[in-house]
């Protein structure tokens, strides 16, 4: 079929301007396809990184077991024990689970934490805060504290507290100053401000403080275990599957971030649908363009097709010549459109440097291979109709003697 390829190429190069226009049309369609892919993908990435980039992707929280109910033989409730109010539920053997969880594929960070409520006292000022005890050395495992530091360091150690800028302002606290932190269990500690951060999240900046895990143990009277394990994944979208895996591995209640994020998921879904819709239209445009151009060409070349058939070219050969033209146009248009798309996306900032207010184009999500493949397939499909009509040309009427 080398010979069919030669004829197809000759036909395309014989009318260069026409072929160039056709290839350009296909390239524009591919360009739109790639631009849409990069935009929709980048937008999703941007929204996700803004909303869930800094939170735990899978969270294991201690379950407070429901207190027992005493029932007699007739089903009459004899006694109900009130749920404990002072004791915090704990994952007492967390230490044994941590290495297991760390080895689950896709897990990039595991952060055992002790959380609870407390009061910060600085002179006469008091603020209610949520206290989180983090493992020293893994302070930035989930929330990127290091990246948000405005003063001091995120390093937690004994007697160190790290807090938000809003809270520091409220209490007129500065780096190196001391304060008193009292937990809901009544224990208290004198701590030094080791660092001040600004995350942009009001709740974290205004009413959260971070201490080391040992400090939290003392404050909340938890000699062992933790109250929460936060897990970060390399792929946000794998959270559901990975959570199931962790749950079956440890028997713990692993909750993916997607639980309770239905609205966000729906919004992203709708956005992706819009993208598919537009990309489908780009492909349809390509198919129609190629089909009509080739149909015109088969009509113009009817006498030649008749001659070829008279000389012993089979119908299959004629079909091959025209389908190959379609495939070549698709390939040329696909590759040049993909190259054009890539070049056009180059000036946009990379996904790590997205700025609010600019289009979050993600050059890595251009779906270049997919765009080229779909275009070639589309162009081949588009050429089947013209190729079949070419193969059906009656040599007698085409030669017109």
């Amino acid at each position: 079929m080398l010979y069919g390829l030669k004829i197809a190429i000759r036909y395309l190069t014989a009318s260069k301007a026409q072929t160039a226009l056709l290839v350009l049309g296909v390239a524009v369609g591919v360009f739109i396809f790639i631009f849409m892919s990069a935009l929709i993908g980048g937008l999703a990435e941007f929204i996700l990184s803004r909303t869930v980039g800094d939170i735990s992707h899978i969270t294991i929280e201690a379950e407070d077991p429901d207190p027992a109910v005493l029932v007699n033989g007739d089903g009459l409730v004899l006694a109900v024990i009130e749920r404990g109010r002072t004791r915090t539920a704990t994952l007492s053997d967390a230490a044994t689970y941590l290495p297991l969880i760390e080895n689950v594929p896709g897990v990039v960070a595991v952060s055992p934490q002790i959380g609870g409520a407390g009061f910060l006292t600085r002179g006469a000022q008091v603020a209610q805060v949520s206290v989180t005890g983090l493992e020293p050395g893994r302070e930035s495992a989930i929330l990127n504290l290091r990246g948000y530091m405005v003063e001091g360091s995120e390093r937690l150690g004994s007697g160190i507290v790290v807090l938000g800028e809003t809270l520091a302002d409220d209490l007129s606290l500065r780096l190196g100053q001391t304060l008193r932190l009292q937990s809901s269990t009544g224990a208290s500690a004198i701590l030094t401000v080791g660092g001040i951060y600004d995350t942009g999240n009001g709740l974290i900046d205004g009413s959260s403080v971070y201490v080391s895990l040992p400090t939290a143990r003392a404050l909340f009277a938890l000699p062992q275990g933790v109250t929460r394990i936060e897990i970060k994944l390399s792929d946000l979208n794998a959270a559901d599957a990975t959570a199931l895996r962790i749950a079956s591995l440890t028997g713990l209640d692993a909750v993916p971030w997607t639980d309770g994020a239905e609205q966000l998921m729906e919004a992203l879904d709708a956005q992706a649908q819009t993208g598919y819709f537009l990309k489908t239209f780009a492909l349809i445009t390509i198919v129609i363009g190629v089909a009509s151009a080739l149909l015109l060409s088969t009509y113009r070349r009817r006498p030649e097709i008749g001659i070829m058939r008279a000389m012993g070219a089979g119908r299959g050969f004629v079909i091959f010549v025209f389908v190959t033209q379609g495939a070549l146009v698709g390939l040329l248009g696909g590759v040049s459109g993909a190259a054009l798309g890539y070049l056009a996306l180059l000036p946009f900032p990379s996904r790590d440097a997205f700025e609010p207010g600019t289009l979050p184009m993600d050059i890595t999500q251009g779906s270049y291979g997919l765009a080229i493949t779909l275009t070639v397939i589309g162009a081949i499909l588009a050429s089947i109709l013209p190729a079949r009509s070419a193969a059906r040309v009656d040599p007698v009427t085409a030669i017109g003697q």
Partner: protein, 225 residues
């Protein structure tokens, strides 16, 4: 002499109902191997129709058609395509060459389309044929830029490419001036003499017909003389 081709009781009608036209009505004809025959008849008498049927490009409405012992009425499209490629060469009056290809590329087409590529052997034969047609200087010339006479000589070379037993030429000189027409006819006569290829050449020009050993005339849908 052995018969190369035989048609008998050939009928061909076009259209149906009121628009039905009967073009061939019981025509019979035998061509012997190595014959050079002129097909005469006024315009509209059915010369082209007969040549297209003999060339397996169209089937008769009824009748028998055999060549080289093969029944060509019963054969399917794929079999006829192969048969044409191997055994029949064509020269038409118009639209003869593929305009985007050179003279040589046109000549080697019947071989290349069968073999799937242009082999060096095919190129050598194509070049020889063009030299023989007096076109040695036009081998790689774009066919669209050749003169009318040159185009028809390329077409004759192409018709001979696969060494067919039969060459059908439908008014091959109809578009040419006298000098070019004679040149083409001389070359055809030479090939017929040297290679024994059978030619059937339609024309309404008595001078051209007189160059052929045998003349037949169609009229009223039959061979009349």
């Amino acid at each position: 002499m052995t018969a190369l081709l035989e048609v008998s009781d050939l009928f061909k009608t076009f259209g149906s109902g009121e628009a039905e036209t009967l073009v061939l009505s019981g025509l019979s004809l035998t061509l012997q191997e190595g014959e050079m025959t002129a097909l005469l008849g006024p315009s509209g008498s059915g010369k082209s129709t007969l040549l297209t049927i003999l060339g397996t490009l169209m089937k008769p409405t009824s009748g028998r058609h055999t060549m080289l012992g093969r029944d060509l009425v019963a054969a399917n499209d794929a079999a006829l395509t192969e048969f044409r490629n191997l055994h029949i060469g064509f020269v038409f009056q118009f639209h003869n060459l593929l305009p985007d290809f050179t003279a040589l590329e046109n000549v080697v087409f019947p071989t290349a389309v069968r073999e799937g590529r242009e082999t060096p052997a095919a190129r050598i034969r194509g070049r020889e044929l063009l030299v023989r047609m007096g076109l040695g200087a036009r081998v790689d010339f774009p066919s669209a830029k050749l003169s009318g006479g040159q185009k028809q000589r390329v077409a004759v070379a192409r018709a001979l490419m696969n060494r067919p037993e039969l060459v059908l030429a439908d008014e091959p000189t109809g578009n040419l001036d006298r000098v070019s027409a004679m040149q083409v006819m001389d070359l055809i006569a030479e090939i017929n003499r040297d290679e024994g290829t059978t030619f059937l050449i339609s024309t309404h020009d008595e001078k051209i017909a007189s160059l052929c050993a045998r003349q037949i005339v169609v009229g009223d849908g039959q061979v009349t003389g």
